[in-house]
Structure formats: C-alpha cells, structure tokens
C-alpha cells in the first residue's frame, strides 16, 4: 500500500498543509481570507502562461508564472480600492473573475499544444501530478518561506494584532504587509498542483480557524495550524489515492473542513457545545434564583419568616410550572417541604426556604 509514489504524495501534501496552516493564520487574523481566494484563482493565467512560455510542464516556470500573476492580482486589487475607490469586496470579485477568465482563455490556447493535458490538474489539484523530482525544490521554497516568517516573526506579530502600534514604532508597515502577502502568494502557488486554484483558499483558512479554537497566542496557533494542515493534507492525499481519478484538492479540503467543524463544536472554551452548555447552566441557575426570590418575597409579604408558600401559588406567581426547579432546589437543600397545615388546602405541596437557601440567595457572586 505504501508505494514510493504514495510516499511522495504524502510528503508533498504534508509540506503544503504545514505551509498553508502557518501563513493562513496570518490571513485569518488580519481578516484577509478572501485575498487568499483571489490570489489562488488569479494564479491560473500565470500557470498556463508559464507553461506556454517554457514550452512544457517545467516546475519552476509554472511556479514563477503563477507567482507573478498572483502578485499582480494583489496589486490590481489595491489599485482598484485606493485608486478608483471601488469597495473591497467588489474589487476582490472583479480581480478574481477577470484573472480566472484570462486563465480560461489561455488554457484553451494551451490545449492545442502537446502535453497540456496536465494543466487542468491545476483547477482541482491532482496529487499524482507531483513528481519525486519536484519534492526537493518544493522543500527548498517552503523552507525559504518559513525562514522568512521566522525572521520577521515579531514584525508580522505586531502588524497582525496592532497595526497602529506597529506604525507608531516606526516599522515600515506597508512594506511588511507586502512581504507577508508575497510569502502567502508563494505558499498558495506551491500548493496549486495539489489543492487546485479553486480550493486552495480552504487549505489556508480551515486549519487556522480550527487552531484558533484550541489555543491562545500567535505562536501556539500557528504551530497547531501547521499540524492541522499536515493532518488534512496527508489524509486527503491518502484517501484520494484510493479512488481512481478522484481529485486530491476536494478531499484535502473536506478533511480540513472536518477538522475545523470538530474544533468549532468541541473546543473546550470557544467551542459551540461548551458555550451552549455554559449558557444553559446560567439560565437554569437563574431560574433557581427566581424561585428562591419568589419564596422569600412571599414570606416577607406575609411578615412571616417561616411562611410556607403553596406550589400552586408559586406557579401562578411565576407564570410557569415550577415543579422541576423546586425538586432540584430541594435536592440541593435550599428549600424544604413544610409541614401540612390544617385545614388542608387541596393537595398542594408547601415550601419554605432553608437557611442554606437564604444564604445562597444573598450570595450573589455564586452562579452555580
């Protein structure tokens, strides 16, 4: 099962996953996720252009072409926004669709040449298209990008969380942002053969969003995002290798999304389930306090500290059945059932506050 081809693919996918996780963290934190989508779509004309210029599927030529058109797209987005005052989302959509359309046109030109069949793998990604010989240059580029991130870590950290502070410290913020965007573009371009131009954005965003659920701080988040990226990449590569003709990109993306969904739901503090439980507990404790307060209020209104209220009266007062809450409060020792009174008024149970209940009601800090 573990043949050399599969090992190559797993290595490549893990590398891409790690790189995308690291740089995607910055995209997510800076609120620029869709710029990643634009750059990856916009790389298509560069991919095909690189192919046409080099006359074959040269790894470096295609990479360079993709990088150039991806970076150009980022530049045009800036121009449209700053120069012509086009809104951010419209600028992104414009550049994305136009560059992609240009890629489609170039693709139809390239398909008349020989050896172009391999080009469509860049749309959705095909792990088998990564050759063993591509691994070394891939690792080299990935290493350079990661080296850049490590080198500029403090600066990237600051511009991601507090742009104004970075400016006030005299950092060249725009230059740093450009460098970061270029590094992101390189990461995207490197992943295109595996994940495809259409879906690469998910490999950037999903691991970062997932990692943010579990940890605080930039360093743990970036590291965990890299781990998630590796998991999703490797799993996607292995699973897609099982079916014939199944594109790798979608499987990798679905693995990453599954990780994210689990993280969104189950993370201990920020998880949706944990949050929901907290809210429920808070609401229940509020109900308990309401009933206790009603009991106290009724006894005060009767000028009788040991006044016992009938359950029916409580229900009418609170406008809802208080029975489950009363049972719970009794279980915790905050109220007790009062002795029956003559003449018996119906079959109602009668309740009075215990000392523990009074104490609980007075102690407002305690939420349990």
């Amino acid at each position: 099962m573990l043949n050399p081809t599969l090992i190559t693919v797993i290595l490549a996918a893990s590398m891409i996953g790690a790189l995308a996780g690291v740089l995607g963290s910055f995209l997510v934190l800076r609120g620029q996720s869709l710029l990643g989508d634009v750059i990856s779509h916009a790389a298509l004309p560069g991919v095909v252009g690189g192919f046409l210029a080099s006359g074959g599927r040269g790894f470096v030529a295609i990479l360079a072409g993709a990088l150039i058109s991806g970076a150009l797209a980022g530049l045009v987005v800036q121009l449209l926004r700053r120069g012509a005052g086009v809104k951010a989302d419209a600028a992104l959509g414009t550049v994305l669709s136009l560059f992609f359309a240009a890629g489609v046109v170039l693709l139809s030109v390239a398909q008349l040449r020989s050896g172009a069949a391999g080009l469509t793998v860049f749309l959705f990604g095909q792990a088998a298209s990564v050759l063993r010989a591509d691994l070394m240059p891939m690792a080299l580029v990935a290493g350079l990008v990661l080296g850049g991130v490590v080198l500029l870590w403090k600066e990237f950290h600051l511009i991601s969380f507090d742009r104004e502070a970075a400016q006030a410290q005299g950092l060249p913020v725009s230059l740093l942002e450009t460098v970061l965007t270029v590094l992101i573009a390189v990461a995207i371009v490197l992943g295109l053969a595996l994940a495809g131009v259409v879906l690469m954005v998910a490999m950037l965003i999903a691991p970062a969003v997932a990692a943010r659920q579990w940890v605080r701080g930039l360093m743990p988040m970036v590291l965990l995002a890299a781990v998630f990226g590796i998991l999703a990449g490797a799993a996607g590569a292995v699973i897609s290798a099982q079916g014939h003709g199944v594109a790798t990109g979608p499987v990798m993306v679905l693995c990453a999304t599954a990780l994210t969904a689990v993280s969104l739901l189950l993370a201990p503090e920020r998880g949706i389930v944990a949050r929901w439980t907290r809210q429920r507990r808070a609401r229940r404790s509020l109900h308990g306090r309401q009933v206790l307060a009603a009991l106290q209020g009724l006894s005060q209104a009767h000028d009788d500290p040991s006044y016992a209220s009938a359950e029916g009266m409580l229900n009418a007062y609170l406008g809802a059945s208080s029975q489950p809450v009363l049972d719970r409060l009794k279980g915790r020792g905050f109220i007790r059932q009062a002795a029956k009174m003559e003449p018996e008024l119906g079959k109602d149970r009668r309740w009075e506050l215990t000392d523990a209940g009074v104490l609980h009601l007075e102690n407002k800090d305690e939420t349990q």
Partner: protein
C-alpha cells in the same frame, strides 16, 4: 461574418447572462456583497449534484430549487458563523463555500460515469455547445439554456421592478429601510435567492467563475461612471452585452474559449470606465487637477500684479518676462496663465506690460483679505 442561427443562439444566451447578471450585480455591489455572489455561484454545484442524487433529474425545477437552497445555505451559514464571533465574515465565507464546492466536486468525481457532468464544465461552462440542447417553441428551435435564462431574467426584472424602491433604500441605508418597514433583511435574502437561481440558469452556459465576472465586473463599471442606481444598472447591462459580442468575435478570431473570452471582454468596459469616466476616471482627474492648478496660478499672477501696482518697479515686474525670471515659472506655463487671465478679463495687456482690470483688482484684494484673516486667526490660536 454572417450571423447564422448558431451564432445567434450563443450570442443571445450570453446576452441573457449579461443582462441578469447586471441587474442583480448592481445591487450586490452596492450592498457590498459581491463576494456573496462568489460563494453562491460555487455552492450551487453541491445543490445540483445533491438534487440529481435524490431525484435523478439533471435539469428542471427540482435542480434549480436544490441549487438555490444550497446557495442560500452557504451565505446564511457563513453569516451565522461570523455572527458567532468565532471568526470574521471573510474567514466564514472562505470556510463554507470551498467546503460545499469540494463536496460537490467530489460527488461529481465519484459519479462521473452516470452524471455526465464534467468538472471542467462546472468551472468553465461551454457556451459553444448550447445548440446541442434545444427546444421547439413557436416552430423555432431555441437553446434550452437560453429559454431558461429568459425566464429567470423576467423573474429578476419583475422582482426588481416591484421592489425597486425597497431594494434601493435597503442597499444604501438599511437602518432607514428597517425604520420604514421595508424589511431590508428580507430584501437581501430575495436578492441572494435570485442570484442563486440565476447562477443555476447560467451554469451550463458559462460555468461558475465566469458567471461571477458578469455579476460583478459590469456593475463595478457602471458604478464608476453613473451616479444613480438606474444609470449604473443600464450601463452595467450595456457593458455586459457589448462584452458578450466582443468576446464572441475575439473567440472566433483567435480560436479560444468562448465563455472565457466573453468574461475577459468585460474588463474592456472596466478599463474604459477607469480611464474615461467623467466621475472617477483617470483623464477626468487629470483635467480637474490641471484646472485647479491653473486657477491657483492665475490667483498668484493677480497677487503679484497687485503687489507691484503703483511701485517704482511696476514696468519691470508686471510683464511675462518677470514671471519667468522672478517667479521661476516656465515660459510656456507663464504664457498659458497670462492668456487664461486675459480670457477672464481680470488683466489687460498694453505693449508688454500687464495691468490689473477692475475685476482683477477686486479679486486680488479679496484674496489678500482672506490671507490676512487666516493669519489673524492663526495668531489668535497662538500657533502663528
């Protein structure tokens, strides 16, 4: 080039995509929801595949409904995720629609043998083949894609005509729209639903991403040029339809992808607008800047003449030559400014000597008074 029925079929289908895209795109761009269009057009793929898996239908109302639901689900899920505070709107969008698209593509991959839906077609569409699938109405053969698009186009037009005012207010001031009882949220949902339906109808013709080009680029073009919603929409339709024609001609000439060429052609309108738009174009900005500069230079000339009026050096200072030598202006520029000032009747020329007219003197005095007031104000504030 003779237009035969084949060309007409392709052109009319493309034009219908352009018109519907322009109608909806105008409001989406105004509302700042252009990327929701991106999410919708990707997510419908999952809806189409799921509808096929459940009912076996490749086209028809069930597929349209499934796709529209999937498109809406993508947008609403992204909204819910971003409202949860766990991530930004951008990350939520970027998380949801690639996942749905990935699932759709995977299902297509796994069912490729039965579905007859190529994943390349999903992305790129094949408008060149709309004539393969035709239906006969009134004894004429029409492409099914075109007929569907015409119906959807009428639906879009009807919706926007009925809710024109509501959509407009909702787009510009959703708070006011809510206060007036126009339900901006419902208006937004309606717009998104129609976008999804239109995306499905356009899907066979131009594919997912090229539909996005017709949705957004012409609307942005219109926004650069026109100042009213109606104007933007008309310009967007015009630019979209012209792009369809130009793109088709280009595709035939160079033998490239028809849908791709049509989408790329929308860039032509955008570039034209960026350069020539009287509102925000580069040329208009240049002209405005030149006009402002000339105005400032004329004012300087007037001040200069006023300063030297009735002084011993009047003859020397009040000449075009002095402007060049003493003020350091270029000779051509000095002449342009003098001519402009003469045109406006604020100076007069006798021999080579320039003199203020009554109007010019009044202007110079007013300018001097303004400067004095500004100085006084600055001095009072204690920083001048």
């Amino acid at each position: 080039m003779m237009l035969d029925s084949l060309d007409l079929m392709i052109l009319s289908t493309g034009a219908l995509v352009a018109v519907s895209g322009a109608m909806l795109g105008t409001f989406l761009v105004l509302r700042g929801q252009a990327m929701s269009g991106d999410a919708i057009s990707h997510a419908i793929v999952l809806g189409i595949v799921l509808a096929w898996m459940l009912t076996g239908a490749r086209a028809g109302p069930v597929v349209v409904l499934g796709a529209a639901l999937a498109g809406m689900a993508a947008v609403l899920l992204a909204q819910a995720l971003s409202r949860s505070g766990l991530m930004g709107q951008d990350a939520a969008t970027g998380l949801v629609f690639p996942a749905m698209f990935a699932l759709g593509v995977l299902l297509i991959n796994l069912n490729a043998r039965n579905l007859h839906l190529d994943i390349d077609t999903v992305l790129l569409g094949e408008i060149g083949f709309v004539w393969l699938d035709t239906v006969t109405i009134f004894g004429l053969e029409w492409p099914v894609a075109g007929v569907t698009l015409a119906v959807v186009g009428l639906l879009n037009a009807g919706f926007l005509l009925i809710f024109w005012k509501e959509q407009k207010i909702a787009a510009f001031d959703s708070g006011l729209a809510a206060a007036l009882g126009f339900r901006p949220h419902v208006m937004g949902l309606g717009l998104l639903a129609l976008t999804a339906v239109t995306a499905v109808a356009s899907f066979d013709a131009v594919g997912v991403v090229l539909f996005l080009a017709f949705l957004i680029v012409p609307a942005v073009t219109g926004q650069l040029v026109a100042a009213s919603v109606g104007g933007i929409m008309v310009l967007a339709m015009l630019s979209g339809v012209v792009s369809v024609g130009a793109g088709y001609a280009a595709a035939l000439t160079w033998d490239v992808s028809i849908g791709g060429a049509m989408a790329v052609a929308t860039a032509g309108g955008l570039v034209l607008a960026l350069v020539l738009s009287p509102r925000s174009g580069v040329v208009a900005a240049l002209i405005r800047r030149r006009a402002i500069r000339l105005e400032a230079l004329v004012a300087t000339l007037l001040t200069h003449l006023a300063a030297h009026e009735n002084t011993p050096r009047q003859a020397e200072e009040c000449s075009t030559g002095a402007l060049v030598e003493h003020l350091g202006w270029e000779k051509g520029a000095a002449q342009t400014v003098v001519l402009a000032a003469l045109d406006r009747g604020v100076i007069a020329r006798a021999n080579e000597e320039l003199a203020l007219t009554e109007a010019g003197r009044a202007l110079a005095r007013a300018a001097a008074a303004r400067t004095d007031r500004r100085r006084l104000f600055a001095a009072q504030r204690g920083d001048g």
